[in-house]
Symmetry: C2
DNA sequence: ACCTGAACACCGTTCAAGT
DNA sequence: ACCTGAACACCGTTCAAGT
């Protein structure tokens, strides 16, 4: 069965319409000899280049060069650059295995685990985050992730509306946190920890509150900071859940 | 006094180093006759073009055309395109007046009001959100906003660490929410409300949890949805605050 | 001294010409 | 039939030449 049978006929997919067509391994016999140009290999190479040089410096020209082909060849596998980026995003989202989420004891643990795994993956691929935010991830792995988490939450008795909102909230939190801490300012890789320093170096007369809070902030390790905020968020959801 | 006196001498500003130099109105006598090219006018026009046509279609060429000049002229006022975008972001952040935040009764109200005003502003300028996320907003208005909110929170006795994290969390939430609901998929302006429809049209056999929760989601108005999530978040912060 | 037309080195995308 | 070199219409940025 093809993956497209998972959707009702002509449903318009936000983002690219032919999401599933160019999925890795969908092509026929790979050419023998030099590394073949199946979509999976293209996407894998694209991710590596983005990780190494950043999205800003990622062009179809450099991708084609790395693959030993011309740019026109890429268009035989993907509709355009955005579609390639969308597949890169989906490949990243597929890295953590979320199939074990429903073995956890509580929906709180489910959300905590989802948050941590998402955080780990985004830390590994910070340069991909802007593409992640350019559209809602509706590729196969993005959908599978959403399905696994929602299924676990519903299984623990969380109301459907709350489950959906909790998933979104945790996702936003992890993305927003990672973006500001390891985000595309990572073009200058030393810039990330300097933000607190920048705040602390402002004029205390003009910005007393900013400078004061900056002093406290720098002493907390990033992982702990992420942990704390996630706990906060889940506590808040808990207060809106039934029988508490 | 110039705005730059608010910072200690050579502090490296994340993003562009000469943030304050090109602030609106800083230039001398505007040329008489046709609309002058002071930085404020350039930024205002850039924001209008981005609002009208989206960031994707915003180029220095179109901006220069709209201003009746050449692209090279823009480089006499700003270092590069990113600096122009950073100023556009700061202009947007300056739209809500946050000076009255310390008149509110509780820190919870402070955060709620901040969230709502940020949400309103982002809804008015959804095309600017990607630029907002490209770097931490450290322009004059971004700093003033942070200072006002933190001052109000500290004034209500919130610990400094919690205040800083709460500010960040609410900011992330508003940005993340607005992005997904009114974000750059707004290239297709009908796409935003279709996300829930997309989820609902998936195969219920393959995605039972997604389709089930999608049914619930569509009935809730967006403003209410935003409200609920914000309440959730603030409740969570409340549980980590002292004497509760 | 100040401004900017015209060029430079790219970019995503297309298609006619090759095999 | 399949592939792709070379072109097209852009882009951000620079600078020599104008005033």
């Amino acid at each position: 069965m093809t993956a497209s049978s998972d959707m009702r006929d002509d449903a318009l997919v936000p983002g690219s319409p032919a999401w599933w067509a160019a999925r890795p391994g969908a092509h026929g016999t790979p050419r023998r000899g030099r590394p073949s140009l199946d979509p999976g290999h293209i996407v894998k190479t694209a991710l590596r280049l983005i990780d190494e040089r950043g999205v800003q410096d990622f062009s179809l020209r450099t991708l084609a060069d790395e693959l030993g082909s011309g740019t026109a060849t890429l268009y035989r596998h993907f509709a355009n650059k955005d579609e390639i980026l969308a597949h890169v995003v989906d490949r990243v989202l597929g890295e953590p295995d979320l199939g074990d989420l429903d073995t956890l004891g509580t929906w709180q643990e489910t959300l905590t685990t989802m948050g941590h795994r998402l955080y780990e993956v985004l830390r590994r691929h910070p340069a991909v985050i802007p593409s992640l935010m350019a559209q809602i991830p509706v590729g196969p792995n993005g959908l599978a992730q959403r399905e696994h988490v929602l299924r676990a939450l519903l299984g623990h008795g969380l109301p459907a509306g709350l489950a959906a909102r909790a998933f979104t909230a945790v996702g936003h939190y992890a993305i927003g946190f990672t973006l500001q801490q390891h985000g595309p300012a990572a073009a200058d890789p030393a810039a990330a920890p300097q933000l607190a320093t920048f705040y602390r170096n402002l004029n205390p007369g003009s910005f007393p509150a900013i400078t004061h809070t900056a002093d406290v902030l720098t002493s907390v390790p990033l992982d702990e900071e992420f942990h704390f905020g996630l706990d906060c968020l889940i506590s808040g959801i808990e207060r809106h859940a039934p029988h508490d």
